[in-house]
Structures are given as C-alpha cells and as structure tokens.
Amino acid sequence: MLAAASGPAPAPSLTVEQQFDRGVAADLGLPGPADPATALAWYRSAANAELPAAQLNTAVMYDSGRGTPRDPTQAAIWYGAAAAHGDARAAYDAGQLYASGDGVPQNDAAARAWYAIAAARGVVAARHKYVRPTIVEGDTLLPATPLRPARLTLSPLGRDVALVWSSPPAPRAAQPVNYYVQVVARAGAKQRLVYAGFVDATASLVTLPPGAADYAWRVLTVSHAGSHYVASAWATFSSKE
C-alpha cells in the first residue's frame, strides 16, 4: 500500500527488498535526478511490509521533511517501528521526539525508556542523555493512542509486526508506568488472545500466528506505583500471506 500521493504505482511483482532498493535509487538519484517523493513512496511501501531499514528511512524522510512536508508524528511512528525491530538509532531518535514533545506528547519517562534501549544497543550518546522532566498537572493517568498498524492490511515479510503507540506522560504519583500490549485474532464473533506482554517503551514487536487473519490490539498503561491502569482504544488491522 502506497501512502504518498505521488510516486510509483504499487508493483506487487517486486519483492520488499527490491522496493527498498527502488527507494534508495530514487533517493540518491541513481541514475538520473533525485526524486525524494518517489523515494518516500517506495520506502513506505517496504516499511509497511516490516522491512526495518525502510521503516528507518521512512522516519528520517518525515522527520527531515524530505519528499514530504515535515510530519514528526509519522516520524515517531516509523522510528518506533524500526526500533521495535531492533534498530538502535531509531530508538535514540524516538527518544529525542519524546524528550522534546515533537510529534508525540512530551514524555520524559518514554524518552528515557527509548534512550535506555538505544544505550543497550550500543548508542553511546544515549547513555547519559539529559531529559528535561515533564510537568504533569493533576493525577489522572491518560490512555495511550494506538498509531500503527490501524485500519491496514499488512503483508509482512515474516510474521513479526511492529505495534506503535504514543503515550502522554503519567502524573508523578502514578510513575513508574509501563505498557501491556494485547493482540486478539478475530473470526466472526469469536476472539482469541494471540499475544499479551509488557514493554517499557512505546512500541512492541509481535509475532502473529500463521495465516491470514483480522486482528485488534490495544495498549494498557499500567501504573506500578498505584496499581491501576488505563486502556487505549482498540485498533484493527488485517494480515495476509
């Protein structure tokens, strides 16, 4: 699925890696003039199929406004997806967006969680990164917002899908918080839990069962200080082989 208005028509005959290579060629102008909008369309096509390098490049294009107006929320989505797949630099960059409140709510705890992940993956600059504390009025724990995937049909390379959400900061009394992700497979009226687990940062990699299916997922923000939680809305997506 190509999201950008301009750019190439969908080419199902191309593998995901070939789509990424088309993106690089258009990005660099190899051959011919560089065409950032077309590059972004190819990157995004491969990113939707869960290619981490394409997810990182999609994030960078949105972050820098190359081939598109700058859109830090889209950048946060794709940094989060690449980071969920294990990319170190994407985790560092996601931390920066949360630290400054760029495209996502300013959330010092989320920024620190991403920096800790980046540091564990070898990003030295993330080790002692200062994060300005976020001031939260009141004592209400607000729900996360599912960002990706939502209302999408995915054809992932493997069965791993990156779930990404944004999260407002928790009030001091509720900290620390982490996130409990639930994914259910839906078949008619029957619903079956296929994944549930905790993560500290605002994205998670989930392995789907084999076969095409419809899914719904949500995130619960869980306060360990106060032993309470708040659930996000459900988001839906489908996978096909």
């Binding site: 960059d93 760029d102 030295v124 600059a125 209302r151 999408l152 619903q191 309470h228 459900w234």
Partner: protein, 147 residues
C-alpha cells in the same frame, strides 16, 4: 478515571469494547512545525586551538544523525578545517582532530563507522579566505555532508 488493577494477564477485560471503540488515531497528524528545508550540510564551530565540541553543538550532531538514511552508498563526509593562525602543520593536525571529534560524536549516535569519509583540510579550501594569522571562527569548523 482509572480502574483498579487486579490481575495482569488474560483476565484483563479483553473484548467487551473491541468493536465499539474504533481507533481514532490512524491518520490524524498535524505537523507541529512548518515544513523544514533539509540542509545540504551542517557545520560545527570550535574555539581557537580547541577540538572540543561545545554543549550547544551536540544538538547539531543529533540533528545530523537524524538526517542520515540507511542505504549504501550513502556516506557521511566529515571535513575539518582550521583558521589561518598558527603553523600549517599544526592546523592540519588540528583540523584532523576536530573532524575526529565530530566523527566520534556521530558514531556515538549510532551511525556505522564504516560509512564515513574523514577529511582534514587544514587551512586549504577555507569557507572564508583570510590572510595568514587572522583568527576567524567561521574557519574553525567541521562540515558534515552526506551523499
């Protein structure tokens, strides 16, 4: 506002609200800032004789690292310069040390080390053509470009 937590696990209220709360967030996104022009290069400036990156310029390294995309043959070129005070040999070493400092800062931000070209320009090819002996911050710089 929030519910009391009893058991974390399958016992969480799971599907009651499944279809009644369509996700609102799928495509809603408002750019918080106007479209930014992507710069062709980023410059980091140094104090006289110094190879230390100033605190304010560390943000520039973060910014540079965020512009770097994942693809061969994209390489990041880091070119150090020195101003026209001091001996040419010392300035060449100084420009190399400045470029190395920026290189280390970018590697520390997750860019693979093998994707760099490091250049020590000394006092050749300076941004501002000063006479020998003239201190000029505009020439005490490392320029980061990528392609």
């Amino acid at each position: 506002m929030y519910s009391k937590l009893r058991i974390i696990g399958a016992a969480l209220p799971l599907v009651a609200t499944l279809l009644s709360h369509p996700c609102q967030a799928a495509t809603a996104s408002e750019p918080a800032t106007p479209p930014a022009a992507v710069p062709d290069s980023i410059s980091v400036y140094f104090a006289t004789g110094s190879t230390a990156i100033r605190q304010a310029d560390l943000d520039k390294l973060d910014f540079a690292a965020r512009l770097y995309r994942e693809a061969k043959p994209i390489v990041m070129q880091v070119a150090g310069s020195a101003d026209a005070t001091g001996s040419p040999e010392a300035n060449l070493r100084l420009s190399q040390s400045r470029a190395d400092a920026v290189f280390r800062g970018l590697v520390a931000r997750g860019i693979p080390a093998e994707r760099f070209q490091i250049l020590a320009k000394g006092v050749t090819d300076l941004p501002v053509a000063d006479k020998a002996g003239v201190p000029d911050e505009r020439n005490r710089r490392v320029q980061i470009t990528w392609r």
